[in-house]
């Protein structure tokens, strides 16, 4: 079986044309990116606001309960309801994006909220006390301090979305899910297995990229690195990100 999957993965025909791996991967990445951008645009400002103001904490609970909704079922339901009102590709894409956004919002919302909420009250009090206006407190203190949790939320959402975006194939869209759906339909198990391997690899690579971005944007003062005394022999002076 593993040999068959390997053969499928390495054959030239798997890598060319509209059903080739590069094209399917690109589609998959496209759906995932679109979903994550939309979800982040909703969940980050909302989570930050809840954490900053302390209002609407129940929204986080409600969002988390949404995790219980099965995405595939939701996709079919949304397609049935929305399709008659929509034209062409959008008729399939929109339900798919909505279903996946609902999957991605809870982890991002929780991360953003918990990150801002967890900012040391003394640091927040000091920020206000030295003369920062509410916006400045948010920009210079709360957001940078919230980044570790905010980034974990985003990475966790990315993993789930990449893994689940395979369902797009059920409603006739592309992406790596095509190999799973088509492979099962035609009893072409090497194709199904190969698709699964590709999804897993893609998710892994995306998470590594996320980890690299996180290491770059999060201040060393908030992570293990900045807590280790060994580093102090090389004083680093203000990088643009933290010094404004």
């Amino acid at each position: 079986m593993i040999g068959a999957i390997w053969t499928w993965l390495t054959s030239t025909s798997s890598w060319s044309g509209d059903d080739g791996i590069p094209h399917r991967l690109l589609q998959h990445a496209g759906y995932s990116a679109l979903v994550l951008v939309v979800a982040a645009a909703i969940a980050v400002p909302l989570g930050v606001w809840i954490g900053h103001s302390g209002h609407g904490r129940s929204l986080v609970t409600v969002a988390n309960s949404l995790r219980a909704v099965p995405t595939l079922g939701l996709l079919f339901a949304l397609t049935l309801v929305l399709q008659p009102h929509l034209q062409g590709n959008t008729a399939f894409l929109l339900p798919c994006v909505i279903a996946l956004v609902l999957l991605a919002v809870p982890p991002i919302l929780s991360g953003a909220y918990a990150g801002v909420e967890a900012v040391d009250p003394a640091a927040r009090d000091a920020a206000k006390g030295v003369g920062m206006r509410p916006r400045e407190v948010l920009r210079h203190v709360e957001l940078p301090c919230a980044l570790p949790l905010l980034m974990s939320g985003l990475r966790s959402a990315a993993l789930q979305v990449i893994a689940t975006a395979t369902i797009a194939a059920y409603v006739g869209l592309g992406g790596l899910g095509r190999y799973l759906v088509d492979g099962i339909a035609t009893n072409d198990y090497p194709r199904t297995g190969g698709g699964a391997v590709l999804v897993a690899l893609f998710a892994l690579v995306a998470d590594i990229v996320g980890a690299l971005v996180q290491a770059r944007v999060v201040s060393p003062g908030l992570t293990g690195k900045g807590r280790r005394l060994a580093r102090v022999d090389h004083p680093t002076v203000p990088s643009g990100a933290t010094a404004s």
């Binding site: 040391d120 003394a122 640091a123 927040r124 009090d125 000091a126 920020a127 206000k128 006390g129 030295v130 003369g131 920062m132 206006r133 400045e136 210079h140 203190v141 940078p144 301090c145 980044l147 999060v218 201040s219 060393p220 003062g221 908030l222 900045g226 807590r227 280790r228 005394l229 580093r231 102090v232 090389h234 004083p235 680093t236 002076v237 203000p238 933290t242 010094a243 404004s244």
Partner: protein, 367 residues
């Protein structure tokens, strides 16, 4: 000058945190607000920079009503130091210190130069500039907190229990350096603490507050110890206040007795003698030994280090304590370099205390 005029803070639930408070914190002096928890001292402090808005009354800074100022702009002109320092964990020490200058729109270079300057002022090495707060000890964090407050050179400093969260030894160091710094800078400081010893040590004047936000007494520390206005203040300033008041009296010139000394490695000439003082090669006292206990030349392990050492011309409290704590009963007096000058007996110091009291009473200037 910070002036409170009939200031009251009542919360929505009806509790009164501060009740009709009027007091003045003079320019260039340290005014300490002290009292038990719930006395409204922190609320009082936080009303100055409008972190809490007063319900009634006015607070004037150099004659200007704070209610008419824009809060954020006003806060940039006041140093603010809080109990756990409240440093920004994601910023380096240098960037923490430069916070207010940057808010005021200074350029990076000027902010950096000023921050390094202030870092040294508060007694920290420039090597720490690139560290993050989590890499600092509690005492170092508190110093950075003070440096951050000083960075834009504000005339007024608000300090809310800044030294309470560190251990007693570090606290004492921080207090001493704070006094040294204030002697150089002469800021108008409002300082909150629950520790009456800290209040008495640091305050040019001390305002004792009682629960319910009432001012019980406002006086210079020596007067507070000598003349508490009521039982509450008397209780609060503590039972050994007679002794502590001696901390404000300089020791007049007193006859010292010469003290025979030994250095480590020497054997006493008179083995039957009572306590002998051991000094180092620069005549700095190390401790006492009893020749009868020795089995040979003096070693470091033989030393009794129980006695405190008083600097000549220091407070009567330090001088008396040196005598009382010395195992030989002879208090060790040193010059400012730490070298032995002589010793003094407790009755001699007590006689001085009495003499000092009589002189003060005759001069009519009893504190």
């Amino acid at each position: 000058m910070i002036r409170f005029d009939g200031v009251t803070k009542t919360y929505a639930d009806g509790t009164t945190a501060v009740d009709d408070l009027s007091l003045t914190a003079p320019t260039g002096k340290i005014t300490v607000l002290v009292g038990p928890s719930g006395c409204g001292k922190t609320t009082t402090l936080r009303m100055v920079n409008r972190m809490i808005e007063p319900t009634a009354g006015t607070i004037l800074i150099d004659g200007q009503d704070t209610a008419a100022m824009e809060p954020a702009a006003m806060r940039r002109g006041m140093g603010y130091v809080i109990q756990h320092a409240g440093l920004f964990p994601h910023r380096t020490v240098l960037d923490n210190i430069g916070t207010v200058p940057r808010l005021l729109g200074w350029d990076r270079r000027r902010t950096r130069e000023r921050s390094l300057d202030v870092l040294e002022r508060v007694g920290l090495s420039p090597d720490l500039a690139g560290r993050y707060p989590a890499q600092l000890s509690g005492g170092q964090q508190q110093r950075v907190g003070v440096a951050r407050a000083l960075a834009a050179d504000p005339p007024v400093m608000l300090m809310d229990e800044p030294f309470s969260a560190v251990d007693p030894v570090v606290r004492e160091q921080l207090q001493d350096e704070f006094l040294r710094l204030q002697a150089e800078l002469g800021k108008t400081i409002l300082f909150v603490t629950h520790d009456i010893d800290e209040a008495i040590k640091l305050g040019d004047q001390v305002a004792v507050m009682r629960v319910g936000g009432h001012l019980a007494q406002m006086a210079p520390p020596a007067r507070l110890l000598a003349r508490p206005v009521d039982d509450f203040v008397a209780d609060f300033v503590g039972r050994d206040r007679g002794y502590r008041a001696l901390g404000f009296r300089p020791t007049p010139k007193l006859p010292l007795r010469a003290e025979p000394t030994l250095v480590v490695g020497e054997s006493p000439s008179d083995m039957s003698g009572q306590w002998c003082l051991v000094v180092d090669d620069r005549r700095r006292p190390l401790g006492w030994v009893r020749p009868g206990d020795l089995r040979g030349p003096v070693t470091v392990a033989d030393l009794n280090r129980g006695g405190t050492v008083a600097v000549q011309g220091g407070s009567l409290r330090a001088t008396l304590d040196a005598a009382l704590s010395s195992p030989s009963g002879r208090g060790v007096i040193v010059d400012p370099t730490g070298a032995l000058v002589g010793t003094v007996l407790a009755p001699e110091v007590v006689a001085l205390v009495e003499e000092d009291r009589v002189t003060q009473a005759e001069a009519g200037s009893s504190p």
